[in-house]
Amino acid sequence: MRLLLVEDHVPLADELLAGLSRHGYAVDWLADGRDALYQGASEPYDLIILDLGLPGTPGLQVLEHWRAGGLATPVLILTARGSWSERIEGLKAGADDYLSKPFHPEELQLRIQALLRRAHGLANQPQLQAAGLLLDESRQCVRRNGEEIDLTSAEFRLLRYFMLHAGQILSKSHLAEHLYDGETERDSNVIEVHVNHLRRKIGRKTIETRRGQGYRFSGEAV
């Protein structure tokens, strides 16, 4: 999952970056509204966390521009302005959720998870599940028929992305774009290695290889 964090308060951004990375998200961080306006619309993010009080362009205007330009990425607004009239304004500008500062880091993680599931049409699931697998996002492990399977951080990221896009064909470059932030060197061989590790743990047939196209998380239980 690749996230964009737009927050101008550096200490908070540092904290959020650390927390989000621990939870297996690849995060790009911007502090200026004008940069966010451009980069949010041009990079393929899975979710955007947007602060409203930004230098350059105010957060609400950035959001309105994105929505006017047809950007469908879910946006979570993060703000200290928690009055109801401001929340309604945020929603009208096109936000998908609203979290007022200060907040508990766990609360933010839960909102992000819920928002991602909702964005992929899995709104009513309390936990991510597909192909007989149940993903525990807080402990970063997967369960099949009550049997717990430990995952490395990279495997967890990959599996979560597969489970959110069950049945879709995902190319290696697409996976690389969504699993690594903009600063990381992308090497498609690394993806191949992680897919092989994952297959060894959850079963060979769960992830098919489509030659020349990419991978497909079949959703078939083994």
């Binding site: 908070l12 009080g53 200290a80 302005r81 928690g82 009239s85 929603l91 609203y98 500062k101 907040f103």
Partner: protein, 442 residues
């Protein structure tokens, strides 16, 4: 305070009454005076003709009956005379059996004398010398018909005066109400302002009212501007304080602190207290209260947005609905009202299992709000405690007490009343009664 219309009418009535009575009475008096001096000439002529009618007869001086006016012969004709000699008195036949009092001084008498048959007599006395004798001739004329006609004129004058007064009052009322119409318009507009039906006064008014209306509009704009600025400043302050607070909350959850659970708990507790206090006080400071008379909340415009926001935040298939009269406008500040309803509904959504309902009704005294849910509700015994202290009943569902705290602040600022009851849906029903805000309140 009496109305301007009343004051003007009262002033006009008293002025017209005083002047009318004074004028009427004076003109009658002048007319009476003129008439008497005119009659005096007549009476002197008659006295002189009586003198001429005196002839020296066989038994001394006697009156020539043929030269006397017939009116002196007919009894109670209204014309009388009396001639006093040194030793005897002659009276006209018209006096019949009654006596005429002798006049005290020569010339026309100031007082009217008593005559026969309740007649009032205007009397003239002339002193003459004839045939070597001193004599005084006293001639009188009945004045009652003149007095009667005076009385009639006075009555008619009074009637006419009253009619004229009424007519003048009516015309004055029309003129005044026409002249004061702009003032009445301003009064109505201020009432509309108070009910939230307009946000400023119409500035097209007569020159005399221009400064007043301009000043009111200026004050309204100024209040709104001040409110906006202070809200913005509070927002900035909140932002400046809450962002570092978010950092602290996040830091307190770090792995390094896991080894010191007590330190961590005490840190988190203090941070939570700061957050609660900050939110409550900032929320309270943001309230417009009744400072802005032109403010209003249009249900049909604002509620859909609020409910959409609630549905987004509580994204778990809750059935949310609201009922309010079509086109209902509430005479309170939009942000305050959103804060009140937002917090109430947010609480209801946190506790509801499937349904939340808002009903707004107009009552005789003002408005009634009911927010109901089908959640677990609150035991009757605990309700007072929840209301009084704004305590958190359940740590799992954050902010229940806090939300009610700001709701209480808003309701108190508007002079309303908050009550917790059982809902028909099975959960809690928060009922709020808000009185119509009025201009007359101190």
């Amino acid at each position: 305070m009496k109305s301007i219309q009343q004051r003007l009418s009262l002033g006009l009535i008293s002025i017209l009454l005083v002047i009318g009575l004074l004028l009427g009475q004076t003109s009658l008096w002048l007319f009476d005076l003129g008439l008497r001096s005119y009659l005096q000439a007549d009476l002197r002529d008659e006295a002189e003709s009586l003198l001429v009618a005196m002839v020296r007869g066989p038994q001394g001086i006697q009156l020539n009956e043929q030269r006397l006016s017939a009116a002196f012969q007919r009894p109670f004709s209204g014309h009388y005379f009396r001639i006093d000699f040194a030793d005897k008195t002659w009276r006209s036949r018209s006096l019949w059996d009654s006596e005429m009092q002798p006049a005290s001084q020569p010339g026309l008498q100031d007082e009217l004398g008593d005559g026969p048959q309740d007649q009032l007599l205007l009397t003239y006395r002339g002193d003459y010398q004839r045939f070597g004798q001193q004599l005084s001739v006293q001639v009188a004329q009945d004045y009652t018909p003149v007095l009667q006609s005076f009385r009639r004129v006075r009555q008619m004058g009074l009637g006419l005066g009253v009619a004229a007064l009424l007519l003048i009052l009516l015309l004055q009322r029309l003129t005044v109400s026409r002249a004061l119409r702009p003032l009445e318009q301003v009064r109505q507009q201020i009432a509309q302002l108070q009910q939230g039906q307009r946000s400023e006064l119409d500035s097209r008014v007569p020159r005399e009212l221009e400064p007043l209306v301009a000043q009111i509009n200026h004050l309204l704009a100024h209040t709104e501007d001040t409110l906006k600025r202070s809200r913005n400043a509070l927002g900035n302050l909140g932002h400046a304080l809450k962002t570092p607070l978010a950092v602290l909350v996040s830091l307190a959850g770090r792995d390094e602190l896991q080894a010191y659970p007590e330190l961590r708990a005490s840190l988190l507790d203090s941070l939570q207290q700061i957050e609660q206090r900050l939110t409550r006080e900032l929320g309270r400071a943001r309230l417009a209260g009744e400072a802005l008379p032109g403010s209003h909340f249009v249900c049909a415009e604002e509620l859909p947005g609020l409910f959409a926001t609630l549905a987004m935040i509580h994204n778990r298939g809750l059935h949310l609905d609201w009922q309010a009269a079509a086109g209902l406008r509430l005479p309170w500040d939009r942000e305050d009202m959103l804060e009140l309803l937002g917090n109430l509904l947010d609480n209801a959504c946190k506790w509801a299992s499937s349904q939340v309902r808002l009903r707004i009704e107009c009552t005789a005294e003002g408005y009634q709000f009911k927010v109901e849910d089908d959640g677990p509700g609150i035991d009757a015994g605990q309700r007072a405690e929840v209301l009084n202290r704004g305590t958190r009943m359940d740590e799992q569902v954050a902010g229940h007490g806090l939300g009610l705290g700001i709701v209480r602040d808003i309701v108190d600022a508007w002079g309303g009343h908050l009550e917790l009851m059982d809902s028909q849906l099975g959960g809690l029903c928060v009922q709020i009664q808000l009185p119509q805000p009025s201009l007359h309140k101190a």
